[in-house]
Amino acid sequence: MDALVAAVTVFVLAVFIGFEIITKVPPTLHTPLMSGSNAISGITLIGAVISTRVDNPKLATILGVAAVAFAMINVVGGYLVTHRMLGMFKGKR
């Protein structure tokens, strides 16, 4: 039970940090914010990686590989397109 309370604490605090920071993101950058957070939600990649152990049942490995593929689309695609987009925002020269 203690572990659950600790996890809930982390969750609640992270939501608050999220609110504090994201409200300061200007509307100009809301689209890169969304694609960038797409990339961050690809963090499930690490859950996917540890589901593919050699001694696991076949089905778990199959689910894990599919999850790795999905999450990698988010990670690679999300960071790359955000980088591409942010490169377009230039100040006055």
Binding site: A3, A7, V10, F11, A14, I17, G18, I22, K24, P26, P27, T28, L29, H30, T31, P32, L33, M34, S35, S37, N38, I40, S41, T44, I46, G47, A48, V49, I50, S51, T52, R53, P57, L59, T61, L63, G64, V65, A67, A69, A71, M72, I73, N74, V75, V76, G77, G78, Y79, L80, T82, H83, M85, L86, G87, M88, F89, K90, G91, K92
Partner: protein, 463 residues
């Protein structure tokens, strides 16, 4: 699920904390265009760190991981390089869906591997499957609507609300079933199936005008699904990253709702009120609309000192961003101050119009938010409205019975002269006439946005 690493567990957990900090610092970088690129790289570094450390886990099937990573990396990489900026809403919608899908699969696999799961595991697994699956199918529908594969309008089906409520209750009942009998793995997949149907039935009735709200909300769900998976695995970095994304999506959802003056409940379950009892187009426009020509507009600029462009999505559809930038360059060459007033829902997702203009090399200092520009709009000599309609309709301020009453608008009618570039007098999404077009200080430049602006550029060059 017990996991052993080739390095001490405490190192792994410390690396995860470092990754979480990099995500937070990275998001903080996004608070200014100057620091945004660095922020994105910091966030990516955090991801790299978390993944590399995880790869040190004992007994992984590396060949399978590599296969999945190659497929996903290739698909994501190609999509990121090739996507056009006008298609960003579609891409974000799809990526939201993949995030939700990944959570469903990871939670499913983790549940299979957990010996004797307690209530904490069963409830978080069930929620992960529920939220993840709704996100997955809901995002596919949103993608279909944005890509115009599916009909974009509002679709009303009788009894849909009752059906959705029933399905939601059934899914929650299955979460209960899983908790009472953790051996019933099939219950998890039933939850996933029900939630998949629910994602479709919740998203399909929502109209195209409300898509900015929907993809923001699905963005939030994809984060919450990842956080729920974090509770299944008891992994802090998943919980933190997931809740950051969840918070971000919720904030954007709120901003979009406010910008359209709609409550979230209205977007999800209601419909736009009928605008039938308002004044007809003939009453509003009858004999009062003044058409103008590119030459006439060019002459307006002779005495102007401050020009404001107010773009709507029609501008992007006409691919006229570059012509606008061209026009702005000529005006700036004459010493005129040029700015852009951006309504929060000018594009099809939060911040979309800003990206489209940045792509056309408009410096970000010239992109002004609605509230900021409204305070100074009386000093604008010429305001060019291009492909926007409802977001500049003064009825939102003046007529409390109008369907857009109270919606925040850019007060272009308060500028000295307004030029509206538009194909015809046809109404926008709200379906109501716009008295701005008949105002004394308003001139209509009818025609295709891009063509009309190119003619205007020609006139300016010749004068």
């Amino acid at each position: 699920m017990q996991q052993h690493f080739l390095i001490p567990d405490s190192w792994v957990n410390l690396a995860y904390v470092a990754a979480a900090i990099l995500f937070i610092v990275g998001l903080k970088g996004l608070t200014h265009p100057r620091t945004a690129v660095r922020g994105n790289l910091q966030s990516a570094l955090g991801m790299l760190l978390a993944v590399v450390v995880t790869l040190l886990a004992d007994g992984l099937a590396y060949q399978w991981i590599l296969l999945g990573a190659l497929i996903g990396g290739l698909v994501g990489g190609i999509a990121a390089v090739r996507v056009r900026m006008t298609q960003m809403p579609e891409m974000v919608a799809l990526f939201n869906g993949f995030g939700g899908g990944a959570s469903v699969l990871v939670a499913g696999a983790a549940f299979m591997l957990t010996a004797d799961p307690g209530a904490r595991t069963t409830v978080s697994t069930g929620l992960s499957g529920l939220i993840g699956s709704v996100t997955f199918t809901g995002s596919l529908i949103a993608f279909g609507k944005l890509a115009e594969i599916l009909p974009g309008g509002q679709i009303g089906l009788p009894g849909l609300k009752a059906f959705n409520a029933l399905m939601g209750a059934a899914a929650l009942a299955c979460v209960g079933w899983l908790t009472v009998d953790p051996t019933a793995t099939e219950a998890y997949w039933i939850i996933v199936a029900i939630a998949g149907v629910l994602g479709v039935t919740l998203t399909i009735p929502i109209g195209g005008a409300d898509m900015p709200v929907v993809i923001s909300l699905l963005n939030s769900y994809s984060g919450l699904a990842a956080a729920a998976t974090g509770f299944v695995l008891m992994n802090n970095v998943l919980i933190i990253a997931g809740s950051l994304v969840g918070a971000s999506g919720i904030i954007l959802t709120r901003i979009m709702c406010k910008a359209m003056n709609r409550s979230l409940g209205h977007v999800l379950f209601g419909s736009l009120g009928p605008g039938a009892d308002g004044p007809s187009a003939d009453d509003v426009y009858g004999g009062k609309v003044k058409a103008t020509s590119p030459d006439e507009v060019a002459m307006l600029f002779d005495t102007a000192r401050r020009v404001l462009f107010v773009p709507g999505y029609g501008l992007a559809v006409a691919q006229a961003q570059h012509v606008v930038k061209n026009l702005a360059g000529i005006l700036e060459g004459r010493g005129i101050v040029v700015e852009y007033g951006i309504h929060p829902v000018a594009g099809r997702m939060p911040g979309h119009m800003n990206v489209l203009l940045a792509e056309a090399d408009v410096p970000y200092e010239q992109l002004k938010e609605m509230d900021e520009i409204n305070q100074e709009i009386e000093q604008v000599d010429v305001c060019m409205v291009i492909g926007a309609n409802d977001v500049v309709n003064p009825v939102a301020r003046t007529d409390p019975r109008s369907p857009i009453a109270g919606m925040p608008i850019i007060d272009v009618d308060k500028a000295r002269t307004v030029v509206v570039v538009k194909r015809s007098l046809s109404p926008g999404f709200a379906g109501i006439p716009n008295p701005l077009f008949a105002a004394d200080n308003c001139l209509m430049l009818f025609g295709d946005g891009k063509k009309a602006l190119m003619e205007l550029v020609e006139s300016l060059k010749n004068s």
